[in-house]
Amino acid sequence: MRRVMMLAALAATLPTIAMAAGSSAVPVEGMPQLAFGHPTQGRLLIGQVVWQLLIFIALVYLMAKVALPRVGAVIEERHNRIAADLEAAQAAKAEADAAMAAHRASTEAARAEARSAVAGAVQAAQADADAKSAAVNARLNAQIAEAEARIDAARSSAMGALRGVATDAAEALVTRLVGRADRAAIEAAVGRELAARGRA
């Protein structure tokens, strides 16, 4: 359509250029725009306005009914398209943000779970170790106590034997020195002596 119009315009221009050369026979006085009294100019000035009105009305009609609504539709469509694209991008961003938040929350939850599991395991191990060490301690304490009891028994039996041995030795010494010995007196003396040394 455009090409046809351009060609039509061009074809119409050619005779103009050829004809514009022939100037009017009667010279135009003053401004040709105001030469209403001139035989040809006056007629052409009126004709110019009449044609102008027709041409301008055609232009307004073509613009209002044909060209501008279509151009407006193109621009409108582009605006809508951009708005829709922006909206879609906004939605996608919101979605991504939500996914990110969910991911972060789940990571946090997993981390907390792991932390509590580790703490539980540590606690259980601690308790187990405590129990074991307590049992070992108890057994060792029991063994120590038993050993101490045995030592005490051995010592007291040894202490008992010591009195006999001391009495016997003292009796033998006394017998050697004086030829006789009073068993009862020696026993009493040994008992006194032991008591004095704190070993009764």
Partner: protein, 251 residues
């Protein structure tokens, strides 16, 4: 050409001559009207090409059409508001018609139809009638309160009302004369300096050097004229928008 008989003829460029042979002569179809048809064809071609591409990412031509659309749509939205939407095609047509009229006039051998007072006056009257029609249709008799601002002292009415009425009607004059005078002045200046180039160029050996000065002026003028072409189309469109605002909102 312009320098016939060593005189400066800056006005013959505005003379009308019929085109399309005897048909054009019979219906008084001048080269001015032909360039109006070309302007309309270019506008319609640009906008239909823009709509036909309809690419999501516009190419250069489509971007141009869309830029024109959005420029005027934004202007109408800013000036008139949302009610102005249905008048957008009218303002857009005004803008493109004036813009292409001005720009086509920059081509060699082309005719600048916006340099004719009858053309700019017709456009201004169309704007005036459309705006007044819209105002009357929207507000009925209440429209006439436009000529007497609310809150003004009543005893000032004999002064205010005639002044307001005169300023309302002078819109037609200011719209049409501004565009017409700008285009005529620019094209006369171009022609005068171009004639200087030809006249001075014939002055023997120094001619070409002296002629370089008006040539440089003309080069600057061409750039200036392109600015004026856009600016005047913009002014025409924005004034139309402002008048539409007054018609829709009454002050």
């Amino acid at each position: 050409m312009a320098a016939e008989g060593k005189t400066i003829d800056a006005l013959s460029q505005f003379e009308l001559s019929p085109v399309l042979g005897i048909f054009g002569d019979a219906v008084s179809f001048s080269q001015s009207n032909l360039f109006m048809v070309i302007a309309v064809a270019l506008t319609v071609g640009l906008m239909t090409a823009t709509a036909n591409r309809a690419a999501l990412i516009p190419g250069r031509l489509q971007a141009l059409g869309e830029a024109a659309y959005e420029f005027i749509a934004g202007m109408v939205r800013d000036q008139v508001g949302d009610e102005g939407k249905k008048y957008f095609p009218f303002v857009f047509s005004i803008f493109m018609f004036v813009l292409f009229g001005n720009l086509l006039g920059m081509l060699p051998y082309a005719f600048t139809f916006t340099s004719h007072i009858v053309v700019t006056l017709t456009l201004a009257i169309v704007v005036f009638l459309v705006v007044t029609g819209i105002a009357l249709a929207r507000h009925g008799m209440h429209f006439f309160s436009y000529f007497f601002p609310e809150g003004a002292p009543v005893w000032l009415a004999p002064i205010i009302i005639p002044v307001e009425i005169i300023s309302y009607f002078s819109r037609v004059v200011s719209l049409s004369v501004r565009l017409f005078a700008n285009m005529v002045a620019g094209h006369v200046m171009l022609k005068v300096f171009a004639t200087f180039v030809v006249l001075l160029g014939g002055l023997g050996a120094v001619g070409p050097f002296v002629a370089a000065m008006p040539l440089a002026v003309n080069i600057a003028l061409v750039g200036f004229e392109f600015l004026v072409a856009f600016l005047q189309a913009y002014v025409f469109a924005i004034l139309t928008s402002i008048y539409l605002h007054d018609a829709v909102h009454l002050h």
